[in-house]
């Protein structure tokens, strides 16, 4: 790996996706589990309160990954998002209704109002969890990219090109991994029955995810033109970390379980990026149409400017986001929720604080 500014930005974008999938990965998992781990309104609100202070900050990792791709590799940004138009559109709609649902759900106590938003939270979490896997698997697999009349490399497949078996398996991997990651997060962040139920769910979904992930990683290794020792090693590490995480969950060591499931996601995403490098979007129609860190990138000057900004800002962001998790480090339990059935905008809700 030659350390050019292009490589630095390839790495930085990989880091942003790693951060995004670890953080919003458990948001998605928790979103899908709100109803499954809860018996009553107090449970559901306790579950949502574990995400309350952090979900928005977690989502910003995605926005910054998008913005950074635009600034550092405009050709990648343009080809990817115009090419994967409909899946991305579905992800955006999901994220919109999900975010609003978090903020508005508990404003009213009416059961129907809350049920509807719970559905929005479930769908808004499940669809992106599935589609991000589909999208990344397609990128790694290679999609039809050709030189257009304008001279730029454009995606020429349609929507259904993206729904191939390998990509769908990738989607199932992210869906089940995020579900498990969310369950592990909940068992770490809640107390009482929710914690027990979340642990139980993680045991089962962890197994399903393991099967899907091993299949996907094996396929990925076989798909490469020749067996790449490093990709293979990374894949094995992914599997080992996941097994360690599941073992920790079985033993009730929630902190370790979370560290391992986060580690699995980190190495998994890194494996995909490593398999790509130095390409950013390989073409299935011939390597002359591959988008790479060289032909997709901005000028060195822009990359230099952005590097300075990233080097100064990223540590600062990590510090204050880390601090948020420290402030809200205590477990949340259903008994801490005041008047769970009550909405903050229901009549007579003059809650007095002491």
């Amino acid at each position: 790996m030659e350390m050019t500014f292009q490589t630095v930005w390839f790495l930085l974008i990989a880091v942003l996706w790693v951060g995004y999938f670890i953080l919003e990965g458990f948001d998605f998992g928790v979103g899908m589990l709100v109803r499954a781990v809860s018996k009553n309104e107090a449970d559901r609100r306790a579950v949502l309160t574990t995400l309350g202070p952090v979900w928005d900050g977690n989502e910003v990792w995605l926005l910054v990954a998008g913005g950074a791709t635009f600034a550092a590799f405009p050709e990648w940004y343009a080809t990817l998002f115009s090419g994967f138009y409909l899946p991305l559109f579905l992800i955006l709609v999901s994220l919109i209704i999900r975010g609003v649902a978090f903020e508005y759900r508990s404003k009213y106590g009416k059961a129907q109002w809350r049920q509807r938003w719970d559905v929005a939270i479930f769908i808004g979490s499940a669809i992106p969890a599935l589609l991000w896997g589909v999208a990344f698997a397609n990128i790694v697999r290679g999609v039809p990219i050709e030189k257009a009349a304008s001279g730029s490399l454009e995606y020429t497949g349609g929507f259904f090109n993206l729904l191939n078996p390998y990509a769908l398996l990738g989607g199932i991997v992210t869906l089940t991994v995020f579900l498990t990651h969310g369950a592990v997060f909940l068992s770490l962040k809640t107390a009482g029955e929710i914690r027990v139920r979340a642990q139980g769910i993680a045991k089962i979904s962890g197994l399903v995810a393991a099967v899907a992930a091993v299949g996907f990683l094996a396929w990925t290794n076989l798909m490469l033109p020749e067996i790449n020792a490093r990709v293979l090693t990374l894949s094995v590490i992914v599997a080992l970390l996941w097994v360690a995480g599941m073992a920790a969950n079985l033993m009730g060591r929630e902190g370790w379980a979370f560290i391992f499931s986060a580690g699995t996601i980190a190495v998994f995403v890194s494996t995909l990026f490593y398999a790509l490098y130095p390409r950013v979007m390989p073409s299935s129609l011939g390597s002359q149409f591959d988008l790479t860190i060289t032909n997709a990138s901005s000028t060195d000057y822009t990359l230099k400017v952005m590097t300075v900004v990233a080097v100064v800002m990223t540590p600062l962001v990590l510090i204050y986001q880390g601090w948020t998790y420290w402030v809200f480090r205590k477990r949340v339990s259903a008994s801490q929720i005041m008047n769970p059935e009550h909405g903050s905008l229901d009549a007579v809700s003059h809650i007095l604080h002491k």
Partner: protein, 440 residues
């Protein structure tokens, strides 16, 4: 609005007076209902350039992407993280630290505005670039110049006071409603004054920066100024038009009422200055950029410019009348008062919207002035049907969300400020069995 809430909380922190705490919580609630919609609709903004405008993105990415990425890294993280801390931190942080989180969240919104306006200003007036013919794209030569060019600064100092004007009207209008209903007069009288005075101060700043913006615009985008005035032929002592009847295709005006020489003064700082007209500019652009149509939709530019200013004047008129009516603790009288105050929050929104409609449509046919046309910026691989479909879905979705948002806002206003007791200084961290002040 973030700064208003931060200011109110500071007043509570400094004085310990509970009406300031009630105001913080009440307007904080309204602020958050609004902010949620801002957050989720902002996600689309980050990706739509690649989705719908991929040719544009390829052409400008080297320059335009930088402020966008900076916005994410500097502003979005700050806003979202500290707002989360503020919402849930009432019983987790010390009073002082908790106050700091709302100020930091508000500062984040300011940074966000700055970077996105710098990006937009580069579309209005591209600077610090070279054209790379081999790659068919514009390349950045100096980031500082992009971030500090005249257009960016003028736009920033025009947009931020407009935002303050909007927040002021929101607070003043709602407070006036509470006063009329006789709810929490101790608080609402104070917040009305705060809102109305914010409007007066920001109105002056909007005016000063608007004047500056007009001059920068005349200099850099003369076609936009000419369109705003429906000025077809270059004129010295150009009048500022108050009202125009034009032909429907906008090719010339039939009847105009105007203030003599005022336009010349607005655009050049000199009553005798020559203001270039649409027809002469069109001829010049045909020569410079090749035959084509370089004239924006003139009736739209003309009227949106006037509606922007008009709504601004109506807003300040209402604010001053309200202040006058309620001077020295008087009770407002008159039938006009109620409708005026209820409509107050919407008036700056209309002014802002028309301002943006004006500045974006009157740049047409250009996406980036003089460099790339809007029509050449679209995604070649995305069909018109797909664009139409997503636009319809987003429009419906935003419509539904707006409906819910307004419903919740009205509900909060109807309930009025809740009673608040003072907080004991909370212990950091909370404990597992203590009830949470804030939960979802």
């Amino acid at each position: 609005m973030g700064f208003m809430v931060a200011g109110l909380q500071t007043a509570w922190y400094r004085t310990g007076k509970l009406q300031h705490l009630r105001a913080t919580k009440f307007f904080g609630k309204l602020f958050l209902i609004n902010f949620a919609i801002g957050v989720v609709t902002g996600i689309v903004q980050e990706f739509q350039f690649g989705m719908n405008w991929s040719s544009y993105s390829r052409f400008v990415g080297d320059i335009f992407g930088a402020p966008l990425a900076m916005e994410g890294l500097l502003a979005f993280f700050m806003e979202s993280t500290f707002l989360g801390l503020w919402i849930f931190g009432w019983d987790r942080l010390s009073k002082k630290l908790h106050l700091a989180t709302i100020w930091l969240a508000a500062a984040g919104t300011l940074l966000s505005a700055y970077f996105i306006l710098a990006a937009n200003s580069w579309m209005q007036h591209p600077v610090a670039y070279t054209y790379n013919a081999a790659k068919n794209r514009a390349e950045l030569t100096n980031i500082i110049e992009v971030l500090t060019q005249k257009t960016a600064l003028a736009t920033f100092f025009h947009t931020i006071p407009s935002a303050a004007f909007t927040a002021g009207a929101f607070v003043a209008g709602i407070s006036a409603f509470l006063i009329i209903k006789g709810k929490d007069l101790q608080m609402s009288r104070g917040t009305f004054k705060l809102g109305a005075i914010t409007m007066v101060v920001s109105f002056i700043l909007v005016g000063v920066s608007g004047d500056l913006t007009a001059r920068v615009m005349t200099d850099q985008q003369p076609m936009k100024m000419a369109s705003a005035e429906a000025l077809y032929d270059s004129t010295a002592n150009a009048p500022f038009s108050l009202f125009t009847l034009g032909t429907l295709d906008g090719s010339k005006s039939v009847f105009q009422i105007g203030l003599p020489s005022v336009l010349s003064f607005m655009s050049t700082g000199n009553f005798n200055g020559v203001v270039e007209g649409v027809n002469d500019l069109e001829a010049a652009y045909d020569k410079q950029y090749g035959a084509g149509n370089y004239t924006p939709n003139i009736p739209l530019a003309y009227w949106s410019f006037r509606l922007m200013m008009g709504f601004g004047f109506i807003g300040i008129f209402f604010a001053l009348l309200g202040l006058w009516q309620m001077r020295k603790g008087a009770t407002p009288k008159g039938k006009w008062f109620y409708p005026a105050m209820v409509s107050l929050p919407f008036i700056p929104l209309a002014a802002n919207s028309f301002g943006w409609i004006f500045t974006e449509t009157a740049r047409q046919p250009w996406a980036v002035f003089g460099l790339i046309k809007t029509a050449d910026g679209v995604s070649a691989v995305v069909s018109a049907g797909a664009v139409l479909f997503t636009m319809i879905v987003f429009t419906l979705l935003y419509g539904v969300l707006a409906f819910i948002e307004v419903g919740l806002t009205l509900r909060v206003i109807k309930m009025g400020p809740a009673e608040e007791l003072d907080y004991a200084d909370p212990q950091l961290g909370g404990s597992e069995d203590r009830q949470l002040v804030m939960a979802y």
